[in-house]
C-alpha cells in the first residue's frame, strides 16, 4: 500500500536468556500510513515496548521484516529530560546527536517550543517544571528532530489523572497540528480511543494482531471531546472484551 511509513511483515521476535527462549511477537503484520495516528493496545506484558524497539530499529526481528520510511522519534513513559541541561539545551539534544546542530535547525526547534507555550521555560531546568510541562518539553524535543513517525510508549502513564487528561489533549493537538504520523502503544483503552484513528489489539504473549478497528469519530480528534461522545463507551466495551478474550 502506498504512503506507508511503517510496515511490519510477519515479524517474529524470540528472546534468548539463560533460562530459555521466549517468543515476544509472532507473525505480526500491520502498517502505519502517513499522517495516521495508530494506537496499539494489548494485555500487560505482551511485549509492547519490544514492538516499539523493533519499529525504532533498536531490535532486529528473528524472522520477517520491519520497513520504515524516514526517521523516527521516540517518546517514553517519563520525560527523560536531562536535569543538567536547560529545556532549550534538552530540545537541541536530537540535533546534536544527529549532527544537525545548525543555527537554522536550532531556530526551528526554539520556534516550535515557543509556539507550544514553552518560551518562558527555555532557560529553566527540568526539575523547575511541572510534570505536564516536562512531558510537553519532551514532545518538542522529539519533534525537533523532525521525525517522520513518532513512537509513543505510554507517554502519559507516569502522570497523575488530572494532568494526564490535559497532557493527552495537549500532545494530541500538537501532533495533529504538526500533521505528524504517530504510533502509540498503551494498555489504557480510553487513551487509545480518545487519541487514535485506528486501534490495533494484540493478543497475550507472543503478541499477534487480534483485531483492528478504524475509529469513527469523524473530524473530531480532541481527546476530551471524544470522551464525551456516544461512540466512546461503545468502543470501550468492544475493546475491553477483545482484550480479555
Amino acid at each position: 500500500m502506498k504512503n506507508e511509513i511503517l510496515r511490519f511483515d510477519n515479524v517474529t521476535l524470540t528472546y534468548h536468556t539463560k533460562r530459555g527462549e521466549t517468543t515476544a511477537a509472532e507473525k505480526l503484520t500491520f502498517s502505519v500510513r502517513e499522517g495516521e495516528f495508530v494506537a496499539i493496545i494489548g494485555p500487560s506484558g505482551c511485549g509492547k515496548t519490544t514492538l516499539l524497539s523493533l519499529a525504532a530499529g533498536l531490535l532486529t526481528p528473528s524472522t520477517g521484516t520491519v520497513t520504515r520510511r524516514g526517521s523516527c522519534g521516540y517518546m517514553l513513559q517519563k520525560d527523560e529530560l536531562f536535569p543538567w541541561r536547560t529545556i532549550e539545551k534538552n530540545i537541541y539534544l536530537p540535533l546534536e546527536i544527529g549532527h544537525k546542530n545548525t543555527p537554522e535547525r536550532r531556530a526551528e526547534a526554539v520556534e516550535l517550543a515557543e509556539k507550544y507555550g514553552l518560551s518562558d521555560f527555555l532557560q529553566s531546568y527540568p526539575p523547575q517544571l511541572s510534570g505536564g510541562m516536562r512531558q510537553r518539553a519532551a514532545l518538542i524535543r522529539t519533534l525537533a528532530a523532525e521525525p517522520d513517525i513518532l513512537l509513543l510508549d505510554e507517554p502519559f502513564s507516569a502522570l497523575d489523572y488530572q494532568t494526564r487528561l490535559n497532557v493527552c489533549d495537549d500532545v494530541s493537538s500538537i501532533i495533529r497540528s504538526e500533521e505528524k504520523t504517530a504510533l502509540l502503544i498503551t494498555h489504557d483503552i480510553s487513551e487509545a480511543i480518545s487519541l487514535a484513528d485506528r486501534v490495533i489489539v494484540l493478543t497475550k504473549r507472543p503478541a499477534r494482531v487480534a483485531f483492528e478497528h478504524e475509529l469513527d469519530f469523524g473530524e473530531e480528534n480532541r481527546p476530551i471531546k471524544r470522551r464525551e461522545m456516544r461512540q466512546f463507551s461503545a468502543w470501550f466495551e468492544i475493546l475491553w472484551k477483545e482484550l480479555n478474550v
Binding site: L58, L76, K78, E80, F82, L93, I97
Partner: protein, 268 residues
C-alpha cells in the same frame, strides 16, 4: 529581584541564623574546652605531659620547627606527595572505569582481579615498593596511588553502570553512537558521583601518603610522627598529627568548594 518578606518569614530567617551561630559557638566551645582540659591536666600533673604532651608544648614544638625552617619543608613534602598521588589515582581510576564501562568483556574478565586488589591491604606491598622505587618520594606517591586507585575505579564504574537505561534507550533511538552516549549522558550524569569519589579519595590519599612515609621516608609529617615515636618525643608526634588534621580538613574544604563551583556552573 528584591523581595519584601513577611514578618513571620523574617523571624524564621533570624531563627535560622541564630541556630547556625549556636552550632558554631558549640563547635568552637568544645575545642576550647578540650584543649583547656588537656592543658590543665598536664599543668596540674593529672597526667604525665611527657606521655600526653599538651597544647602549649605542641605550640612550642611547632614554633621551633618553624624557627629552624623545617616546618614548611616537612609539610611541603607530605602535601606534594599526597596531592600528586591523589591526582594520579583519580585520573587513572576514571580512565580505567571508562574502559571497563566501554567493554563489557573487559569488565567481566578483570572483575576478580579488581576484587582481590581492593581487598588486599596495600601495606603488604611495602617491602616490594621500597625495592622497586627506593626510599624517595616516588615510593610514597606510588603507595598513595595504590590506596586510592581501586576506590576511584570502583566508585566511578558504579556510577557509569548506574546510568538511567531509559535515557540510554532514548539516545539510541536518536541514533546515538556509544561515544555520544558516553559524552552526552554517562559522563555528565556521573558528575555528582565524581565529587563524592573525590571526597572519599581525599581521605584515601592521606592514608596512602602517611602509610608510605611510615614504611620509608626521610622527610614529611609521617616521618616526623615515626621519628618522634622512636625517640619518645611525643610532642613532635602530637604536633605533626595536629598539622595533619588541619591539612586534611583544608583539602576536604577545597573539594567542597569545587563542588559548589561545579554545581553553580551547571545551573547557570
Amino acid at each position: 529581584m528584591k523581595h519584601e518578606f513577611s514578618k513571620e518569614h523574617r523571624q524564621y530567617l533570624a531563627k535560622k541564623k541564630r541556630d547556625l551561630a549556636l552550632v558554631w559557638a558549640l563547635r568552637i566551645g568544645i575545642l576550647v574546652l578540650l584543649l583547656g582540659l588537656w592543658e590543665m591536666a598536664a599543668d596540674l600533673g593529672w597526667v604525665d605531659p611527657f606521655l600526653t604532651s599538651s597544647p602549649s608544648r605542641i605550640g612550642k614544638t611547632i614554633a621551633s620547627l618553624y624557627a629552624d625552617g623545617s616546618l614548611f619543608y616537612h609539610i611541603g613534602v607530605t602535601l606534594l606527595e599526597t596531592l600528586i598521588g591523589f591526582v594520579i589515582a583519580v585520573a587513572l581510576g576514571c580512565i580505567i572505569a571508562l574502559l571497563l564501562w566501554w567493554s563489557e568483556t573487559l569488565k567481566r574478565v578483570l572483575e576478580p582481579y579488581i576484587v582481590v586488589l581492593n581487598a588486599l591491604p596495600k601495606i603488604a606491598l611495602g617491602p616490594l615498593i621500597i625495592i622497586w622505587f627506593g626510599t624517595g618520594s616516588e615510593a610514597i606517591v606510588f603507595m598513595t596511588v595504590l590506596v586510592g586507585i581501586i576506590v576511584a575505579t570502583l566508585h566511578m564504574l558504579g556510577a557509569f553502570m548506574a546510568t538511567d537505561s531509559n535515557k540510554i534507550l532514548l539516545l539510541r533511538s536518536m541514533g546515538a553512537s556509544k561515544l555520544q552516549i558516553l559524552l552526552k549522558l554517562v559522563i555528565p550524569s556521573s558528575l555528582p558521583a565524581f565529587i563524592s569519589m573525590l571526597k572519599v579519595n581525599v581521605g584515601m590519599a592521606w592514608i596512602g601518603s602517611i602509610m608510605g612515609e611510615y614504611i620509608v621516608s626521610r622527610a614529611g609529617l609521617g616521618y616526623l610522627i615515626v621519628y618522634g615515636g622512636q625517640v619518645f618525643k611525643l610532642d613532635l608526634v602530637m604536633s605533626a598529627t595536629c598539622i595533619l588534621c588541619v591539612l586534611a580538613a583544608g583539602m576536604y574544604a577545597l573539594v567542597v568548594l569545587l563542588e559548589k563551583l561545579i554545581v553553580k556552573n551547571a545551573e547557570s
